[in-house]
């Protein structure tokens, strides 16, 4: 065998070895991400369950746990960002991503219900937005709407945004969609109980909020307490 042929074969072997190592490494990091998301979800699930149990045990809602609930919502939001990043990496059809999104949607619904309980029992008035989007290519304005909501969430920390992929096959989400009567005209928003469809601009979205709901003076507090 000539030197050239021998070297060409060795180089091919090394290329295959490098590509194999890279694919393994990337897959390892992806699994680490999935694992971290699972850990976060498990922790959040336990914390949410703990708060729900406290509500069930005490007739008078444990209003001193408001801050605990706020922290949970923040972590939930962080989990959402990471899940969105992972979905972009692995694709929305990845079975692990679909499962994580289902668990995440369930956690969001439970946190939303807890927030509603706090609102009723502890006389707090958080500003809540339910946002329904689709990644199936049938929602032209969903990227813009999502970005605008992220901006509002960062600018007004008392704002609680719960984002739901309309197409997720999850009983609880379907029930929420049915209860709130959300039609598949996406993006859709439920802002303080009022249903809105479509997104034109950040200014128009801000107008959909009740007066003073986005007051900057409350930006440092986590929940508006009446």
């Amino acid at each position: 065998m000539s030197l050239f042929a021998r070297n060409a074969l060795i180089a091919l072997g090394l290329t295959v070895l490098l590509v194999g190592t890279v694919v393994y490494t990337v897959n390892y990091f992806d699994q680490q991400r999935i694992s971290e998301l699972n850990t976060m979800q498990t922790r959040l699930s336990t914390d949410t369950l703990s708060l729900e149990t406290q509500f069930a045990l005490l007739e008078n809602a444990p209003c001193k746990n408001i801050s605990e609930n706020t922290t949970l919502s923040k972590e939930l939001s962080d989990l959402g960002d990471r899940l969105s990043f992972t979905e972009n990496r692995l694709g929305s059809k990845d079975p692990q991503v679909i499962e994580l999104k289902k668990s995440y949607a369930l956690l969001e619904i439970r946190d939303y219900l807890l927030t509603k309980k706090l609102e009723t029992n502890c006389k707090v008035k958080p500003v809540v937005v339910l946002y329904f989007y689709s990644n199936a290519g049938n929602c032209e304005d969903c990227d813009r709407a999502g970005y605008a909501l992220s901006y509002l969430r960062q600018t007004y920390p008392h704002l609680r945004v719960y984002s739901f992929d309309y197409n997720i096959d999850l009983g609880a989400l379907k029930t929420l969609i049915s209860v709130e009567k959300v039609k598949p005209k996406l993006p859709a928003f439920i802002i303080q109980g009022d249903l809105h469809y479509g997104f034109t601009s950040l200014t128009d979205l801000e107008k959909a909020f009740p007066k003073n709901a986005l007051a900057t003076s409350t930006a440092t507090s986590t929940i508006k307490i009446h």
Binding site: S2, L3, A11, L14, E36, R144, A148
Partner: protein, 414 residues
């Protein structure tokens, strides 16, 4: 399978890595190792160095002085300065060396092109066993000729190239070229061990004079007479060697316009020579590594450079339009605000690692080239300039060269 830019990028990236691994393995092979151990020559044959000059008033004096400083028996070294119809003070400056016993001056009244100047020099040196060429904007290290002569031990070696680098780089583009030239030192050293060199550059390539008698003198070669001669030598089944430590320093274009002009001349010359006159080399098993791998890869890398550049521009424009559309109405401060660091968001993708590996191996080759050739200079700025700029600048001359060849356009030398 859904469309993704990766479908285009991955094959090119894999080909680049495969090529780099081939170079790495060949670098470690015995022939390359042996060539690094070459010592000084046992005999000193007669050498004539031809310096073609066309309006070289600024550099010809220092070029000639560097030749006179070569550590080589003076009786065995003659220097032929050919004034190819210069319209500046070149003729006057050459006249200062007229009485030097080693120097012969030829004044051509009319500019006929570099290859005619080289041929005039060859014709005037019938006694020389070896003929060298040196561009008038280049300087040689004192031991360069001795290093090169020792590469002609085997009778089938018809030419030897030197270790070229950029003389005192100042601008960022010159630094980029400095790293590129050093990378070239390593690749030429490696390719010579599988007889894969397909250009004998103007700065200090030395030929066995027999090759001109057998294969003929220099030709126009689509303004790349050095490349044409190298391909002719390969086509005839001879060998081209490389001397890793024969240092020669050349002046590199300092701005984009002359750089593009130079590179378009080189690249379109390569394409025209290969596609019109030396197509028989491509995919021909008779030419082993050169025909089956190196020349096809050179053509493929041009195609890949243009494709990747076009794709990057397209994807960048698409993503910018999308980002601007998504961020419309949202204050810019939000988009620019720093988010807290987490390993989670690091871009650990196949593209990231493979691209990183390609760049890393390239940088290793650059460092190796500098060390093995003992080329002076600081690599840090040059390596950074090369890593950042080359991917954007090189496609410009590739695109223009391909367009010129496709349209049949011809450009002037300078």
């Amino acid at each position: 399978m859904a469309w993704s830019p990766n479908l285009i990028v991955y094959p090119f990236l894999l080909a680049a890595i495969y090529y780099e691994f081939f170079l790495l393995v060949t670098f470690l092979s015995k022939p390359a190792r042996d060539s690094r151990k070459r010592g000084t020559p046992t005999t000193y044959p007669h050498v004539a160095i031809i310096v073609p000059c066309w309006n070289e008033e600024n550099t010809i004096e220092s070029t000639t002085k560097s030749l006179l400083a070569l550590k080589y028996p003076s009786k065995k070294l003659s220097i032929v300065l050919v004034n190819d119809g210069s319209t500046d003070n070149t003729k006057k400056i050459l006249a200062r060396f007229a009485r030097h016993p080693q120097i012969k001056i030829i004044n051509k009244e009319k500019n006929g092109g570099k290859y005619t100047a080289l041929n005039a020099g060859i014709s005037s040196s019938p006694e020389a066993e070896f003929i060298g060429c040196l561009d008038a904007d280049s300087l040689v290290a004192p031991d360069a000729l001795r290093e090169i002569v020792s590469c002609f031990e085997k009778p089938e070696v018809m030419a030897t190239t030197a270790a070229m680098s950029v003389h005192k780089p100042h601008t960022l583009l010159q630094h980029m070229q400095y790293a590129e030239y050093i990378f070239g030192i390593t690749t030429r050293h490696i390719l010579s061990s599988v007889n894969g060199i397909y250009v004998t550059p103007g700065p200090f390539s030395i030929y066995r004079s027999k090759v001109f008698r057998e294969l003929g003198n220099f030709r126009h070669g689509y303004q790349t007479e050095d490349l044409e001669m190298a391909l002719r030598i390969q086509y005839a089944g001879y060998k081209i060697e490389n001397s890793l430590r024969a240092r020669v320093y050349t002046k590199a274009p300092s701005t984009l316009r002359p750089l593009l002009k130079q590179r378009v001349r080189w690249t379109s010359g390569f394409l025209r020579n290969i596609l019109y006159d030396y197509r028989g080399l491509i995919a021909n098993p008779r030419y082993n590594a050169l025909g089956l791998f190196i020349l096809p890869f050179a053509l493929f890398s041009m195609f890949s450079g243009i494709s990747l550049f076009s794709l990057s521009i397209f994807e960048f424009a698409k993503s910018t339009i999308h980002s601007v559309s998504v961020a419309q109405g949202v204050p810019l401060t939000y988009a620019l605000s720093l988010h807290s660091f987490s390993w989670f968001y690091l871009p650990f993708t196949v593209m990231f690692f493979l691209g990183g590996a390609t760049l890393l191996i390239t940088l290793v080759f650059i460092v190796m080239g500098k060390r093995l050739s003992n080329t002076p200079g600081n690599l840090t700025v040059s390596a950074i300039a090369y890593s950042i700029l080359y991917g954007f600048v090189a496609p410009l001359w590739l695109i223009r060269s391909v367009a010129d060849v496709a349209s049949g356009a011809r450009r002037s030398w300078r």
